[in-house]
Amino acid sequence: MIRFENVGLRYGTEAEVLRDISFTLLPGSFHFLTGASGAGKSSLLKLMYLAHRPSRGLVTLFGRDMAMATRAELPELRRQIGVVFQDFALLDHLSALDNVALPLRMSGTPEADIVAHCTEILRWVGLGNHLHAKPSTLSGGQKQRVAIARSVINRPRLLLADEPTGNVDDGIGMRLLYLFEELHKLGTTVVIATHNEALIRRFDHPHLHLDSGRLQVRPARNGRHPDTRWE
């Protein structure tokens, strides 16, 4: 699914924010990406969802070497990735339904199917009564659920979430993580970046832990070593 080999990332002429990152994620795996604020979690996710290209090293996504991917190939690759952004990144002038519909419209889905699918998924995340609400009228938790619905509407192969529990209380945060688990059970590969150690201790998944730009692998508590799930 994803393979990083000795990847480094720097912004401009600054020092590297990610150094010698190497790991492989198998299809259908679930990982937490942990680390203190400023450790490089968002930067690593940006490399995964192709917002940045690495300064060095090899990134392979869906079996494709990203260094060889042309600009024209990126949209198709990106449509296979669902992203829940830290700040939700909802478009304020669009309704919840139209926000969720964006990936479907980009892939040319017929309009009748779009409305049906988006209505269904918004009901699934508990927002069936807010289909036409603008983001400015929604609470933080509701916005988060719209963002999650948008990230999975296109049945992505890879789901990346950047601090999805950062703007909600623990109760809603827990419900969101259960939601990700449900998606994982459907076969989606999930990576969730968070610094909320207390919340994720309730789940038994391996961690990718970043510390000052370097990655450590922490296995799941039940004894499964990450390597057993990795190539």
Partner: protein
């Protein structure tokens, strides 16, 4: 002030941009000017064609009194000229204008005194042709048969008229081309501004898998909608102005101005002006967006 409140759904909130307002109004102004320029060229072309049709296919022979000659020989020379003309190939008819008709022609300059029989009036022959006429040979024969007779084939008038009509058409074309260039510059500016304002949203759409064409379609829909709205207003204003001019020209007591009415096909052609401008805006918007996004990483 927005032109119309209708705002189709768009991933980019372009309709609320400041550029959206000025784009519509500038398009209205451009269409107004382009329609007036095109209509002006059409009217002048029609006028020139009518004059051309009136003058072409005709000749005028003037038999002037010779100094010191009696009146009778003038009529004899006119008859001789008529005989020569009627025997010449390519001439359908040759009619001698009566003294009253000549006086009527001269009345605007000489007044009622133009009918004074003591005035040494020339004789005029109106000739209608139905084929090619050897004007040079005819001149020689007329000069031989009717001394003092001159032949006017209106070549100078026609040349001037055609030159004038061509110049007007050229000016109108230049105006339309300049308006088109201004429209392109306006759309380029509006689209670049929109891309700069909404760059974070464009980047977000890219991250969700939007192609450059998907983004460009957002801008294309916007500029075409604004162009059509502004263009419709410009067309209505220009149509009203043309109708007003037509009514004003009809109200003139003296028929100094030609008829300023446009034919149905000409109105139909003018209806295409806002559509053409919208098409130009669409192509320009697509080109600008694709070119700008193509330079992004």
């Amino acid at each position: 002030m927005a032109l119309l409140p209708v705002r189709p759904r768009s991933d980019l909130p372009l309709a609320v941009d400041p550029s959206a307002r000025f784009l519509g109004w500038i398009t209205a102004l451009m269409v107004f000017l382009a329609v007036l320029a095109s209509a002006g060229a059409m009217l002048v072309s029609d006028m020139a064609r009518r004059w051309d049709n009136g003058l072409a296919g005709g000749l005028t022979v003037q038999v002037a009194p010779l100094p010191g000659a009696p009146v009778t020989p003038l009529d004899e020379r006119a008859e001789a000229a008529l005989t020569v003309l009627r025997a010449s190939p390519g001439i359908r008819s040759a009619v001698l204008l009566s003294g009253g008709e000549i006086a009527h022609l001269l009345e605007p300059w000489l007044g009622p005194e133009a009918a004074d029989p003591l005035l040494p009036m020339p004789r005029l022959i109106d000739v209608v042709t139905d084929g090619p006429v050897d004007v040079a040979a005819l001149r020689l024969r007329l000069a031989s048969a009717a001394p003092g007779a001159t032949l006017d084939d209106h070549a100078v008038w026609l040349a001037d008229l055609r030159s004038f009509a061509g110049a007007v058409r050229l000016v109108a074309l230049g105006v339309v081309v300049m308006i088109g260039a201004a429209a392109v510059a306006t759309v380029v500016f509006a689209v670049r501004t929109g891309l700069a304002i909404h760059r974070p949203v464009v980047e977000l759409l890219h991250l969700m898998g939007a192609t450059d064409r998907y983004v460009s379609r957002q801008f294309e829909r916007h500029v075409v909608a604004m162009s059509l709205r502004g263009g419709s207003i410009g067309l209505l204003l220009a149509g009203g102005a043309l109708f007003g001019l037509h009514r004003a020209s009809q109200g003139l007591r003296a028929s100094m101005l030609p008829d300023l009415a446009l034919a149905s096909w000409q109105w139909a052609a003018l209806l295409l002006v806002p559509l053409a401008l919208a098409l130009l805006a669409l192509v320009t918007a697509r080109w600008t967006v694709l070119r700008t996004l193509g330079s992004m990483p």
